[in-house]
């Protein structure tokens, strides 16, 4: 089985927002429609302090709360464990946005339907496992791949760097963070 996942190394992130811009271009999003949002956290104690940028996006949870609350079946866990929104089924009730503990879903102002990170299915379906945000990142802070394959680049990096989901076991997230 293929379970797509991602690693985001915030120690490499410079906060340039290139991933968000690339994502908006790739997915042809509205100007105010972001699949990636940024949280900033201060770390350390004075005088040794730093500002950490944490890009947040759909965590593609195996036990996706959005899919369990979606009344129409628009939000679902699809092939490769990628959480997707069937735009033709979404009524825009925003229940998934309330149920998502990570607050990473957005409403498309034109259609009224809800959307979010698609793990660039255009790439994965062709066999080339990559995401636009991964390609765009100038510091290689992002790695995408198959979590079920222990030899994949992402699986090895998660073990090496002790990467963890952003909020512990809140959900079974497939995006791992190095912090």
């Amino acid at each position: 089985m293929t379970r797509y996942g991602m690693l985001i190394d915030t120690t490499k992130c410079v906060g340039c927002y290139a991933c968000r811009t690339a994502c908006q271009r790739q997915n042809n999003l509205e100007p105010d429609e972001d699949f990636i949002r940024y949280e900033r956290a201060e770390t350390g104690t004075f005088p040794k302090v730093a500002v950490e940028t944490v890009p947040m996006q759909c965590m593609h949870c195996d036990d996706a709360p959005c899919a369990s609350v979606c009344p129409t079946g628009a939000a679902h866990v699809g092939a490769g464990g990628i959480v997707a929104v069937d735009q033709g089924r979404c009524i825009g009730c925003l229940y998934c946005m309330s149920a998502c503990p990570y607050q990473v879903r957005v409403r498309n102002a034109k259609t009224g339907a809800v959307d979010k990170c698609r793990f660039c299915v255009v790439h994965t379906e062709k066999g080339g496992a990559s995401c636009t945000c991964v390609d765009a990142c100038p510091t290689h802070a992002r790695i995408f791949g198959d979590l079920d394959n222990p030899d994949s680049e992402v699986s090895r990096a998660i073990v090496e760097k002790h990467a963890k989901p952003i909020a512990g076991d809140l959900t079974r997230a497939k995006v791992y963070y190095v912090r």
């Binding site: 949280e39 369990s68 979404c90």
Partner: protein, 299 residues
């Protein structure tokens, strides 16, 4: 990053109206069994119940923009029975149909079968509880994610339903209004129970491991929502009705209680309950903060 509430005033209105409608039907059934002679008041409840729920559902469909643009998608609402919203659709559908049949039978002066009234009452209670469960299953919001919320919404729904029927009764059926003493005494206790439930909800929420719990409670008690919470909800919605009804039911003379002045005092108390009921939904929907966005209540 700042947090914008996902659901707004329209959803607060819907939650309020759905609860009120369910509560109004419960009130009509209560009158049927406890005050069978008060047919006008009963009919008021039977008119309010489907009317406000249908208004609420129209608001809901309007708010669901993608479905509003493609109405056929609403048929898909019955596909995921793991979703509280799907169950809500079932309860609402059965409730509206039953409430409309009961209303038509009443208006045609035909006998309403007892079982039909009871089915409608159970569905009305289900609608009230579901509005709480709808928010309750969202684990990202400490203010919602507690089993107290459905109970609070249930009590508030029955309270606002009874207040709406009694308020309309003061003007449309003043003679019957004086007769429904058992209903009034039952209704008296609901704001008292609500006060206890709200206090419990805030204590439990503020102790949530995530700071979002305390931030939400602080926003209500001393932040942006403080005036709304203390003045409109606690004073007008809970304390005033309790004090006024306590006076009317147990302290005032029978002459004062049944006089026009006494009725107006009760009307004021019922209007307070309705305002409090709406403000409660609005605050619960708007003041809840999610656990993964850090936003202090002072900002």
């Amino acid at each position: 990053m700042t947090y914008e509430p996902i659901w707004g005033t329209i959803i607060a209105w819907y939650l309020f109206l759905a609860g009120l409608g369910g509560g109004a039907f419960v009130t009509a059934v209560f009158i049927r069994f406890k005050h069978p002679g008060c047919t006008r008041l009963m009919r008021i409840g039977r008119i309010i119940a489907p009317a406000v729920v249908v208004i609420g559902l129209c608001l809901l469909m309007f708010d669901a923009a993608a479905g509003f643009a493609h109405p056929l998608r609403f048929a898909l609402l019955l596909t995921n029975f793991g979703s509280v919203m799907t169950w809500g659709v079932v309860f609402l559908a059965v409730f509206v149909v039953v409430a409309l049949i009961v209303l038509v039978l009443d208006l045609l002066k035909k006998a309403v079968p007892e079982w039909l009234d009871i089915v409608g009452m159970v569905m009305g209670l289900c609608v009230a509880v579901y509005t709480g469960c709808l928010l309750g299953v969202c684990q990202g919001f400490p203010l919602w994610n507690t089993a107290l919320l459905p109970i609070l919404f249930l009590v508030s729904a029955v309270s606002t339903g009874m207040a709406a029927v009694l308020l309309a009764g003061v003007f449309a059926a003043p003679a019957e209004f004086n007769e429904v003493v058992v209903l009034k005494k039952f209704h008296f206790w609901l704001p008292v129970v609500e006060l206890v439930l709200v206090a419990a909800l805030l204590f439990v929420t503020s102790a949530n491991p995530s700071p979002a719990g305390w931030e939400s409670v602080a926003a209500l008690l001393m932040g942006n929502w403080a005036v709304c919470f203390w003045l409109l909800f606690v004073v007008m919605g809970l304390v005033l009705p309790t004090v006024l009804e306590c006076w009317m039911l147990w302290i005032a003379s029978h002459e004062l209680e049944t006089s026009r002045t006494g009725q107006m005092v009760s009307a004021l108390s019922d209007a307070g309950v309705l305002i409090g009921g709406f403000v409660l939904r609005l605050m619960i929907v708007s003041a809840a903060l999610p656990i993964t966005i850090v936003q202090p209540w002072m900002l």
